[in-house]
């Protein structure tokens, strides 16, 4: 690990000032950042510890939504009684991720900013990694790309976003509250992440020093919610495919639907295409399959990950069927 200086932030304003300096970085739970610092993929010269800032509340908002502050741990969010009864897809996504120890330490803000687990990002590849060293190339495109993205990728990068939580948040229409040098702004989670394009090292719209202070949820959407994760092990593994759905029916017709995918895209992947294909249609496997085909119409396999196209379709169909099973 490269040397750095450390400071514990007294308040958000001084934290932003300190983190705006060249080479400075926030640390919260540290579970991903310290891992990357040990491998010298991340090498900040100054760490600003924001883990003790008073941003640990989960509060109802006047419009019946929820405000989740950024330093709430993944465990506390998953165990929150209001989340479990009104946003169960979020609890399910959280407990599908990582391990008990990591969820206790990892924060909500940190979860949103965790880096890809592309093995060529973590360990040297023959053709470099454009995320690690912009312009060095992508070892995954012609390499062992079984875990990689089939949606949202570019010729510069096919790495997936690894978060489970963010997939549920995408389905729930979450917004991210950001506190920066000049302003506080609120941005949809769908606009928060960038697809890689030519600049895969730029993953979000965060400006230097800008801090995630909260995640805002609108009132709970109608219908059943479910998160489904498909992976190589029964527990403690990243998704090959995951799906978050929120779906409501009226007399066997789908009245509203939300669909987001994880494990197959370069960012948490909301599928408005699937939602349009489901809404107003009978709640049958035929409808689900048609929606799945349309949702994955633009998917591009790179060889080892071709299986994800069919797996994502089947996972969506099965998740919708199970969500509506008991209605």
């Amino acid at each position: 690990m490269k040397a750095f200086t450390y400071e514990r932030a007294a308040d958000a304003r001084t934290a932003v000032k300190a983190a705006s300096a060249n080479g400075a970085k926030y640390i919260s739970g540290g579970t991903n950042l310290l891992d990357l610092m040990k491998l010298e993929i991340e090498h900040p010269t100054h760490l600003v510890d924001i883990s003790r800032l008073p941003l640990k509340h989960i509060e109802r908002t006047p419009n019946d939504g929820l405000r989740i502050e950024a330093q709430v741990s993944n465990s506390d969010l998953a165990a929150d009684l209001h989340v479990r009864s009104h946003y169960p897809v979020l609890s399910e996504a959280l407990v599908a991720g990582a391990s008990g120890q990591l969820r206790n330490k990892a924060s909500v803000g940190g979860n949103l900013l965790q880096r890809t687990r592309c093995p060529y990002f973590y360990y040297d590849g023959p053709q470099g990694c454009n995320k690690r060293e912009p312009g060095s190339g992508c070892s995954a495109i012609d390499g062992f790309n079984r875990s990689h993205a089939i949606l949202g990728a570019s010729e510069a990068c096919i790495a997936t976003n690894p978060s489970d939580m963010a997939v549920a948040l995408a389905a729930l229409d979450a917004e991210i509250e950001l506190f920066g040098r000049d302003q506080t702004r609120v941005i949809s989670i769908l606009d928060f992440y960038k697809v890689p394009g030519d600049t895969p090292h730029i993953e979000t719209v965060l400006e230097p020093g800008e801090m995630i202070t909260a995640v805002l949820l609108p009132p709970p959407p109608p219908g059943r919610q479910r998160y489904r994760k498909v992976r190589d092990r029964a527990s403690y593994a990243f998704a090959l495919v995951s799906v978050a759905v929120v779906v409501a029916t009226e007399r066997d017709t789908i009245s509203s639907a939300r669909v987001a995918f994880g494990g197959i895209a370069t960012k948490p992947w909301r599928s408005l295409t699937a939602e349009r294909a489901l809404t107003g249609k009978p709640a049958t496997m035929e409808t689900y399959r048609l929606a799945a085909d349309q949702a994955l119409a633009g998917a591009v396999g790179r060889g080892h990950n071709d299986f994800k196209i069919e797996l994502a379709k089947r996972t969506l169909c099965d998740t919708l069927a199970r969500a509506l099973e008991a209605e």
């Binding site: 040397a3 540290g30 891992d35 165990a79 479990r84 120890q101 206790n104 527990s235 403690y236």
Partner: protein
Amino acid sequence: MVALNVNGHAEQLDLDPRTTLLDALREHLHLTGTKKGCDHGQCGACTVLINGRRINSCLTLAVMHEGDDIGTIEGLGSPEKLHPMQAAFVECDGFQCGYCTSGQICSAVGMLEEARSGWPSHVTANVSVTEIDLTDDEIRERMSGNVCRCAAYPNIVAAIRDVAGGAHR
């Protein structure tokens, strides 16, 4: 100087900011019960309890834990008076080489508290239910952050099941 509260003792350490909590415990305080396995948060051998909650001590900096109550395997019990979880691991033969064991035990102690608090897990059928029935499937899922390369898993699950059921109070 960093002030750490380890197993009820106040400690003052002069540390490089890079020092992980795990290295502070092992190399500076010579509490070698906490083990370094992978050093990347994947194996759970370094599990300790911070203010009663289990975490991976390899993925946190010692300087970040000023004033926290840090509990290690050395603080749970002693050879003369084992913690119920330690006694259960001995009785059920919940280990072979023993390298992962202190992490398993600290993790199990933290995990039982989480289950008592009604936290859901990935195998909890309905996450809105707050009474957790600690089945073997629940124990396995909740302990998935602790790897045992000797594969003593059936006996680890048995030991935890015994303590959860009150056999070692």
